[in-house]
Symmetry: C2
Subunit: 257 residues, 2 copies
C-alpha cells in the first residue's frame, strides 16, 4: 500500500528530520537521501529505522531497495509525496532514517591514533562534510568538532562527506578543553593561522603525533584556542585566503605524509 | 526613481544573465551578486555595464554603491523586485553585470608561467570556483579549461572563486590539443588518476615547468587526455576518493612547493 497523504505521521517525521536539527537531536535520528548514501549508511553499520521510496524509485532501484528491506521496513510513497518530502531538486526517491551514533564515546579512539583534525566553529555543512571525507581518505585518525560547528548529522554534511561521517571517529566537545586533552596525550597541536609566530607549512616536519586546528570560515581560529597552540600557515599569494576545506586538505596531506 | 515592475527590461535581462549560460554567451556579459564580489570585479579591472540595488541595500551599503556609481549606472529596485531577480535565499541586494573577458587570449600568458592547472570536464560550478581560488592562492600561473567544464562565468562559479575567476589567467579550449601544446612548451604534464604507471604524489619532485590535469568528478580524466600524460596519484584509504577540489588543492600545493 502506498502512502499519498502529507499528513501521514512517517512523512511528517521524515520531512522534519531532513530539515531540523532540533528534531534530529530530540529523536536521536538522522536522515539521508539517495541510493549511494543510504547504502553507505548500512554498510558502515548504522542502525536503520525506516526507509521511504517513491513509486518510481521502487521500480528503478530494485536491488538497493531489497538490500534496505533486509534491515528495516521500506514504505512506498507516491512520487508527488516524495517530492514534497525531499530536500532535493531532482531526488532519486530513496530516504533512510537511522540512529545517530553517540560520537562522544570516540574521544579515546581518536586519541589513540597518530593524527587528529580539530574543527573550531566550521559553520558551512558543505565544508564540514568535505573535511570529513578528506580526513578519512588521508588516514587522519579522527576529527574533533568544537561547539559551534555545523551539524555532522545534517543531510548536507552527510552528503558532502560521501559517507565518511558514518565511518570516521568524530566527537563534539568544548574546543579549548579538547586541545588541552590532546596536548596532554603528547600531540603537537597546530592552529592554522597567520601570525608572527606561525611556521610556514612545508618548512618543518609534523611530529608523529600531530593535530591541526581549522578555524571558522570568516573569523579563523578563536583567540582562546589559538593561545593554546603552535601556529602554522600555508603561504599564499593573489587570492585573499584559501577555502577552509582546501586548507584542511593541504594540512591533512602534510600531516599524513 | 525606483523600479518595481517585473517587466522592466533591465530586470528581465539581469535575471536572465544570472540564470542562463546561453544569454551570457550571446550578450558577452556575466552577472554577480553581493557587495564583496561586485567590488572584486571592479578592482580586477572588469568593465561593468550596470548595477541594480535594492532600496534597503542602497541605504545599507552607501560606500559600496558610491564606488560602483563611479564606473557604471546604478538603478534602485524595490526590495520585492530584488528578491524576484535574485538567485539567493537572503540576498544582500546588490547586482552587477559586467563584460566577459575573452579568456582565449590568455593561453600565451599561461604558457609563460611555470605551473598550470588543466581541468578536463570538471562539471560542478562549486568545485570549479574552489579550484580557481586555490590555484590563484598557491601561485599557479593559469588554468586551462577543457570543453565540457562548468561555466567560469556562472554566478555560482564566480562566488565560489571569491573573485579569483576575475584575476587568474584562464582559457577554454579542446583539452587534448591543450595538453599537446603545453607539452611542446616543455611542461611535464601529469594526469591525476590511479593506474599501474601512476607515480605516488610525494615520491617525486615536480619539474620546474609542470602541469596537472584534474578530471571529471565521476569519471576522472578522459582516456584520450590520459594517454598523453604521465600519471600521478594521491594515496588514500578508507574513503573511496577525494573530492575533486580537495585533490586539486593537494596537487597544486605540491606543484607550488
Amino acid at each position: 500500500m502506498k502512502i499519498t497523504s502529507r499528513k501521514n505521521q512517517l512523512v511528517v517525521q521524515s520531512r522534519g528530520l531532513l530539515r531540523e536539527k532540533r528534531l534530529r537531536d530530540e529523536e536521536g535520528l538522522f536522515a539521508v537521501e539517495g541510493v549511494k548514501l543510504c547504502l553507505e549508511a548500512l554498510s558502515a553499520g548504522i542502525t536503520p529505522k525506516w526507509a521511504l521510496v517513491s513509486e518510481t524509485a521502487a521500480e528503478k532501484f530494485v536491488e538497493a531497495v531489497r538490500e534496505i528491506e533486509q534491515s528495516c521496513a521500506v514504505t512506498v510513497v507516491s512520487d508527488d509525496l516524495y517530492d514534497y518530502l525531499s530536500e532535493q531538486k531532482t531526488p532519486q526517491g530513496i530516504f533512510l532514517a537511522g540512529q545517530i551514533l553517540d560520537k562522544s564515546v570516540n574521544l579515546d579512539r581518536i586519541l589513540s591514533s597518530g593524527k587528529i583534525l580539530l574543527l573550531d566553529c566550521v559553520q558551512d555543512s558543505g565544508n564540514l562534510g568535505a573535511m570529513l571525507r578528506t580526513a578519512e581518505a588521508l588516514g587522519i585518525g579522527g576529527v574533533i568538532l568544537g561547539d559551534g560547528c555545523a551539524d555532522v548529522w545534517s543531510p548536507k554534511t552527510l552528503r558532502a562527506s560521501m559517507g565518511s561521517a558514518f565511518r570516521l571517529p568524530a566527537c563534539a566537545v568544548d574546543m579549548a578543553g579538547a586541545v588541552k586533552t590532546v596536548k596532554e596525550k603528547g600531540f603537537a597541536v597546530y592552529a592554522a593561522m597567520l601570525d608572527d609566530t606561525a611556521q610556514r607549512l612545508g618548512s618543518f616536519a609534523f611530529p608523529e603525533k600531530s593535530a591541526v586546528v581549522i578555524g571558522n570560515e570568516g573569523h579563523g581560529v578563536s583567540a582562546e584556542v589559538a593561545g593554546l597552540c603552535q601556529k602554522v600557515y600555508i603561504p599564499i599569494q593573489g587570492a585573499e585566503s584559501l577555502n577552509a576545506a582546501a586548507a584542511a586538505a593541504i594540512l591533512c596531506w602534510e600531516m599524513s605524509k
